[in-house]
Symmetry: C2
Subunit: 460 residues, 2 copies
Amino acid sequence: MTEIRPEPEAGDDDFVPSRTLVAEIAEAIDEEDGARLHALLDPLHGADIADLIEQLTPQRRQGLVRLYSGEFDAEIISEIDESIREEVIEQLPAEVVADAVREMDSDDVVDLVEDMEAPERETILSALDESDRAAVEQSLNWPEYSAGRLMQSELVAAPEHWTVGEAIDYLRAEEWLPDQFYHVILVDPRRHPVGYVTLGRLLSSQRMIHLRDIAEDSFRTISARQDEGDVAYAFNKYHLISAPVVDDDDRLVGVITIDDAMTVLDEEHEEDMLRLSGVNTDSRVSDSALATARQRLPWLVANLFTASLSAMVIAQFERTIATLVVLAALMPIVASTGGIAGTQSLAVAVRALATRDLNRSTAPRVIRRELIAGVLNGLGLALILGLVGMLVFGDPRLGAVLAMAMIVNQIVAALGGVLVPLTLERFGLDPALASGTFVTTLTDVMGFMAFLGFATWLLI
Amino acid sequence: MTEIRPEPEAGDDDFVPSRTLVAEIAEAIDEEDGARLHALLDPLHGADIADLIEQLTPQRRQGLVRLYSGEFDAEIISEIDESIREEVIEQLPAEVVADAVREMDSDDVVDLVEDMEAPERETILSALDESDRAAVEQSLNWPEYSAGRLMQSELVAAPEHWTVGEAIDYLRAEEWLPDQFYHVILVDPRRHPVGYVTLGRLLSSQRMIHLRDIAEDSFRTISARQDEGDVAYAFNKYHLISAPVVDDDDRLVGVITIDDAMTVLDEEHEEDMLRLSGVNTDSRVSDSALATARQRLPWLVANLFTASLSAMVIAQFERTIATLVVLAALMPIVASTGGIAGTQSLAVAVRALATRDLNRSTAPRVIRRELIAGVLNGLGLALILGLVGMLVFGDPRLGAVLAMAMIVNQIVAALGGVLVPLTLERFGLDPALASGTFVTTLTDVMGFMAFLGFATWLLI
């Protein structure tokens, strides 16, 4: 029903340090062999070193940090997962951290310090010179998860009346430029962004041409207050590479680049997927078993209570079951098929909310479609189950009970799967949050109630 | 248990055509008012026009295409979802399509034609001049979902011995350059890529400097055979903006840019989420109710059979249930809490496989962690449920049965959630595919079996 795509021969472990390398590094750490550790780690990208650090046991991690501390630069530190970054930083010499922080773009410093306590944050920020520090603090004044937190203050802007030649001369003379930049942002005298020029355009144009004449057609600024998820959506939809960020007076305050937007997109997906399944979004593969258990327990306990609802429904029909015990065996079929249908409808709805395909204009049509699809699949499943019920148990009434309950529960599932996330969204909540538990509770309760209800009516 | 993030005031419908606009456009179409339709659509980005086209009913969609056909350019056509793109193209005048195709980068042409039948493909390709057509056909020779399909042939390469001045003069003189490019790829005389220079670096360097002296430290080529999912992973991990693609002889054949990688990342996430929930990954919010029902039915039917396994298990214990009917009411609690735990463990594992945090080096540790977490949560839930069972039903033995079954099923759930996707992955299958059904069948069957088994042993 879905195509199966074979993995390439190299396997999924491409772009991941090999098992052999991990083993060699562990050995070098255990033997306190700093020279060998350097030889192994030096050729790696910062992101791979960060991966390795995350994969090591806490003891070996400390060993690695101790033996390799001199090489920790902005890149490695930025790439280490938040869950262990503070621990690593505490162990590094203050000098190394200060050097790394000075190397970082302002968005990486913000990412580093935003969840720190005041004293730790102060230690980091004191490494910066005054203007860099001001940029970071300005960023921290914007709400969490906003464009203002995501942007970097390092950018290249030019007056709109400049020529290509003036811009190039400026870039050649300017000592300090961002590590990576893809556009020159054109600003008016009050620093309102009015357009941008790609570097490719700048490079391929004659020196006397005005920047405003080679600006891109499509230009979009992002408010510093915009939610970071919306920013990622806009980058993906409009194929933006970088976008200027403006404050409440529409003045240029920073720039967001697509690699940061891609990271946000990735995190938002992770949140959707984990929340749908009732998992705390802070959980990491590197967490301890105790932390894992603690993160998951709340939903499990919540489920104990919602499952008790099903138990209470069933308890109402104890006399029916005592009379016809085969009902106890058959009742999970209706409930579980409803659960699957609800989960399907829910996954599609949560995904469509994320891609904005499900929005206020399309909602009525999507709800109608789910309803009809629920009826159709209810009928299809009812036919199969009704026939099987009749053939296996030789009782057409039992077949009819199964069929009727299945139709009711498929409709409930289809509607619940789309209405639950839409309702959460309307109330400003994350549509993925708790939706799964809601919907399966609904389909369980309705499944048992419909099946045992019809059975009591028709069979007893 | 997870933080709730309030949406910004503007709501989630930012970057989506407003309901008013959609209504006005529908009205303009219904009134065949081409002038008004142009006035409404002309200011929009191609991606928004594509969104609108997807949201309209099929009749209105045809009306829009008829009234607006002259304006369909490369951007709009590339942005329309595959599910309706061919239908739109068939309706457009051949001339309009040919112009749009000539405007496209080779990767967009590949995306357009790769799923077409031979005659339709030929019509499109015949619009291209010989070299563009050769580039598209070369791309189509690489496997589906490979880097070779994702790359564009439009790129800027320069001999490594050139100076900045030579490169700039070349760019100024060259009439034909890609719409968007961010690097100059350095090649040796046999066209092997040996490094790259960012345009920012090029612009800010003196004319006499050699390109090889300002090349980036970290340089990575991508094999045209690489799976597109791995490419997206590499872009996200290493913060790449563009990367050269090489053939089997390591010769430069194209370039992949981050916006394409971001699209792939987004699609891979969609696949993971939908597959985990048993939904066909081709499904779209714009699908008809009948198509929706048909896409979902296979998993529902599959679930009928797996649910029958549970029914058969329960049927073995009919005598036990007849003796103590309260067991029928209580048995779903153990099964459903197991289902939640299995889903949690599964979502974390599938996500970790996608981020490569779960790989061959970390698998043993992750499995051990899941096992311990399962035991811990089993004990915790057993304690609650055992106490409740005892207090509500006044029977310590019933509490003990609930508690024991819960512990067993939590362990099964935790292990199943990680072992099922790992096993699928090991056999080269998509770890998300069917995992959900597998794991919940496992927890249902084990839940009923353990609960009724212990009950028969201790209570009857």
